[in-house]
């Protein structure tokens, strides 16, 4: 009975109800869109980093500290005998890295040179193009960001200076075999990829690696004095931290949007309590308790949000569909910022559980905001209400 009366009152309100529903729905659309953007960005970044660098986990040399370039020179260790079979089976890809200086067109730039086996199937990296046979001019692969920052392009020849483990500098000539669209920034920015065997030779560190990319999770528990397993949380720590930082802005924006939507509902409710005093008195005379009247008004406010939630997929469909199919466009230069997931349009995925949580939170807020103005009803004398008096 209360629900029916509430629904009828909302229908009776006509365009005022419609405006409330549309306002709340627009807020929900923006929130769903934002939620989907962050979610899709992270998922895309995870997928790209996994495909191009992380695989099913990393076994990384303990001396390596990604935040301390001075450790790069010492970041290698002999490949454990126990892993050799897995490497031969292409279940594990050993990567050797070393600090280097490159001289494209006479300019001097710092870089990290990474060696990857020509035969590997753990990463999507096209390492087959890195031959160990051409020692006079070594073929290298670079990513688009590296090509842009070093102004190198396919076929360019430049000099790389690398120090071997004994401290002697070796200079080699290299040719850019191909510029790859590497979506993982850590595998692109400042990185030059060469054949692993060649790099081991240049470094005079045969059979060594800086880390292993695992193609199977069965090696995650591999015990070694030189290498340790880097789990997903540690590997993606920077990304997740970045997301956390973004989360604050997201919450701030949500709060602002929710505030605006709630003002619309609060205003309608406060006006309704004021305008419908006589109805409140009548309901009391007919036998409604004050609690029931409060429930009626609160329900009316809540129904706005329920309708808005139902309207959100309909009103937001064109927007949601566009971003799911065409993706969020990457602005010019964003791919050089080193942000994972920002190298191609982000096609939106809609995390149902997170979106339902957003709806639920909004619903709770609405119940509260709808209830707030009805506190006046509890203090209202039915006789005054019947006369249309304001307490």
């Amino acid at each position: 009975m209360i629900l029916r009366l509430a629904v009828k009152n909302i229908l009776h309100n006509g365009w005022r109800s419609l405006i409330n529903i549309v306002v709340v729905s627009i807020v929900l659309i923006v929130m769903v869109w934002t939620q989907a953007m962050y979610y899709s960005w992270i998922r895309l970044a995870e997928i790209q980093q996994t495909d191009w660098e992380y695989g099913k986990g990393l076994l990384r040399v303990k001396t390596y500290d990604p935040y301390d370039p001075l450790t790069f020179d010492e970041s290698y260790a002999p490949i454990p005998q126990e892993l050799q079979n897995a490497i031969d089976q292409e279940e594990i890809a050993p990567i050797l890295m070393a600090p280097a200086t490159i001289y494209p067109q006479g300019r001097m730039l710092s870089a990290v040179i990474k060696g990857i086996p020509q035969q590997q199937s753990v990463l999507v990296f096209p390492s087959g193009k890195l031959s160990a046979q051409q020692k006079d001019i070594v073929p290298v692969l670079i990513g688009k960001a590296m090509a842009k920052s070093s102004r190198l392009s396919q076929g360019d020849i430049f000099t790389i200076r690398v120090r071997d483990i004994n401290g002697a500098y070796n200079a080699i000539d290299a040719i850019v075999e191909e510029v790859l669209p590497i979506p993982a920034p850590t595998a692109d920015i400042g990185t030059i990829w060469v054949n692993l065997d060649l790099l081991q030779e240049i470094r005079e560190a045969p059979n060594t690696a800086s880390y292993f990319v695992l193609g199977s999770s069965k090696y995650q528990n591999f015990e070694s004095s030189d290498f340790r397993f880097i789990d997903k949380d540690e590997y993606f720590a920077d990304l997740y931290q970045m997301l956390e930082n973004e989360r604050f802005q997201q919450v701030l924006m949500y709060a602002l949007l929710v505030f605006l939507a709630m003002i619309a509902i609060f205003d309608t409710q406060a006006l309704a309590v004021f305008k419908r005093r006589k109805e409140i008195g009548t309901l009391a005379a007919l036998g409604f308790t004050k609690a029931k009247i409060v429930l009626l008004f609160t329900l009316e406010g809540t129904i706005y949000t329920v309708c808005a939630i139902l309207a959100t997929p309909i009103l937001g469909f064109p927007l949601f569909y566009y971003f799911a199919t065409s993706g969020f466009p990457i602005l010019e230069g964003y791919d050089e910022f080193g942000l994972p997931g920002f190298t191609e349009p982000i096609k939106f995925l809609y995390p149902i559980d997170e979106i339902l949580m957003v709806f639920f939170v909004i619903l709770i807020f609405t119940v509260f905001v709808s209830w707030l103005p009805t506190r006046k009803i509890a203090k209202m004398n039915p006789v005054d209400a019947l006369r249309g008096k304001v307490n």
């Binding site: 109805e279 036998g287 019947l386």
Partner: protein
Amino acid sequence: MKEVIAQIKDLSKSFPTGEGEFWALKSISLEFNRGEFSGFVGPSGSGKTTLLNILGSLDTPTKGEVEVLGNKIHQLNQSDAAQLRSKHIGFIFQTYNLLPVYNVYENVEFPLLLIKMDAAKRKKMVKDAIAWVGLTDKIKSRPNQLSGGQCQRVAIARAMVKKPELVLADEPTANLDTENSFNILDTMLKLNKELNTTFIFSTHDPKVIEYLKRIIRLIDGEVASDDLASGS
């Protein structure tokens, strides 16, 4: 044998004003029997509506006791008072006070929904009540599609549908023309006779006074006279 359904003992009611208190009712003692067709008569500000509101448990006495259908009004909590109103008392207001979002049927049905009557019985009672007041052809009309007289007849049907023991009518004809006023009063008198429902009016309309069988005159919150009408 006469059955007392409402008893007022030494009732006083005051309202706070800027300068102190205003006594709207002063030491009133009255009794009402089942099936009475009586009314409070007097000028504006004489306390008619206040007395009616207290009898209807919408207001409480400042002093004295009021007992309606065995319920001491001054002792009732909000919920009990609401229950008394929903089950046993019907209200008719000067301005009809129909729910604008409901049609005639739904307005009349509303009190029965409150007492959780089953659907089949409810439907029959609502249709009967609408037939009593002669609005069967307007069953789906909303209040804004009805005349004042029709609205007041809907209000009567709403008050009568649950067959309450007591109906309190506050200036029911004040907004109606003569013809409609007589129609309404005839309807109420018919219901009073057929269902033995007690009607208590608050009025200063001579047309209503003409119909009353007991006239209680109030002046400045006091009972000036309490007379049976001639022919009663």
